[in-house]
């Protein structure tokens, strides 16, 4: 049908590719070859083998990356460094230290106490996974581990708050200390939530930003609640 139209049109005027239908590929012309493009230059990492470097360098490189991300969290501005090179070392360190500090809160009876280490650990990781799944299901473009990385790193202000709370509780445990702890925890909670939304909000479709931010708010609220209600034995 297309050819019929073409012949009709060809009869009326001279279109651009008038003689194209006459071209045929004869068997003499070879239509084969190689379609490989020679790679010009290797990327610098390939030539540089990390097997021979001293162990200190290897460890320092990762530590520096983690440290840089901590700085990004404390001063959140729109940079993609946190997202591009994600790693889960920072979240692991933060989660373990927070869970260690939170465990074994006071208990009158065995089950009446604060969260145990496993509970805190599970809440943080399971909560982060659920929030990531939620944002992906709502149509977010961020990858799974990038989101875990951001949520984990933004626990840093709350870990600082936990440290401050423990120090304050060493000093006194009255109403004044409670007010101080409340103010500190609330400030750090706000900081965490703002930092994580600064990193994550851009990857969401615009009509659903609030739907994605609310679970993050709830997540950090739970962690802040656990920090605030911690009472030592």
């Amino acid at each position: 049908m297309a050819e019929a139209e073409e012949s009709r049109a060809g009869g009326a005027a001279k279109p651009l590719f008038a003689g194209l239908s006459d071209v045929s590929i004869s068997e003499d012309i070879p239509v084969e070859g190689e379609i490989t493009v020679p790679v010009g230059s290797h990327s610098p990492d390939e030539d540089y083998s990390t097997l021979d470097e001293p162990v200190k360098d290897t460890i320092m490189r990762d530590l520096k990356a983690v440290g840089k991300k901590f700085v990004h969290v404390m001063y959140p501005k729109k940079s993609s460094a946190l997202l591009r090179d994600w790693d889960l070392w920072g979240p692991l360190v933060l989660c373990v230290s927070l869970a260690l500090m939170l465990q074994g809160g006071s208990a009158d009876s065995k089950e009446d106490g604060g969260p145990q280490f496993a509970e805190v650990f599970v809440i943080i990781w399971f909560g982060a996974v659920v929030i990531t799944l939620n944002s992906k299901l709502l149509g977010g473009t961020i990858s799974f581990f990038q989101s875990l990385c951001v949520l984990g790193y933004c626990v840093l202000p709350l870990t600082v708050a936990m440290l401050v709370c423990r120090l304050v509780l060493l000093a006194s445990s009255g109403t004044v200390s409670f007010i101080v702890r409340l103010v500190v925890v609330m400030a750090m909670f706000g900081w965490s939530t703002l930092a994580s939304t600064a990193f994550l909000a851009d990857s969401q479709p615009p009509n659903r930003k609030a739907l994605v931010v609310y679970p993050i708010f709830l997540f950090y609220f739970i962690i802040s609640w656990m920090i605030l209600t911690f009472t030592p034995q």
């Binding site: 006071s106 009158d108 009446d112 992906k136 709502l138 679970p215 709830l218 009472t231």
Partner: protein, 309 residues
Amino acid sequence: MATSDELQFHEFDEAADLLAVNPDATTTRISEQQSHVAVNVSAGSEEGELGEETDKTELLSGQKKQPSFWTFEYYQTFFDVDTYQVLDRIKGSLLPLPGKNFVRHHLRNNPDLYGPFWICATLAFTLAVSSNVAHALEKRGDPSFHYSPQFHKVTIAGLITYCYAWLVPLALWGYLQWRKGLSIHVGSYSFLETVCVYGYSLFIYIPTSILWLIPAAWLQWLLLAFAAALSGSVLVLAFWPLLRSDSKPATLAALAAIVSLHVLLAVGCKLYFFQMLPSTIPPVHPLVTAQHPTVLLPRQASASVPLRH
């Protein structure tokens, strides 16, 4: 006998006219195998979104390839809501109007899992947190009281909320499917829509559980009655059109079961999480115990007083 000209494929004139009038209208074409073109004109910006939604669902419901159960896209279809839609559904669960069936009016064939899941999570944590705060506030007069975060309550609250919000709709959906098999007039909703109605109807309990911190028993029971009435009526209004063509005893029994389970949830939560009476029990004066060492002081329900000889 039709001429060969009439049997040829013709573009719809109406479609061409409509397109000429409104040149930037959105047009949708169904699959190429079908030999007609459908035109979808968005009439205005307000109607546009709703119109697009319903038109899209009409056009796509038959033709859209349902993603397989094992792919991620299948589950993405359950989260296909925008912020304003979720807020609108929450508002609809708070204000049950007699004419508006929640499922037909607010869900509109687009049930979502976002609302039920996060409302249940929020409700579980709100119950646990405000129960802990109420406990602490109530006991603050008691010197022997040592504050504890009572973290196990989070687990229990979560279990109760999620079981209610998912198992009861399952049972109700099963019941409706069974009745639909017996009598053709009984309609039914899909399982997702049932879960959606139940999930959104639980929203009212979130502010209620925060307001239960106020230590006035009459206020707490009043709030409970108000919340149970509101969310119960949302459920009844949603399921009444399905059941009304069934036999009278069956309809009444089903509606009574729905309402009573809902009230049972509210009362159970109130009693378990906020079981204390509002007044603090003052500690017994030590002189009294010294004079009557053999008298057993009446054990109060919520505070144990140390006996001193």
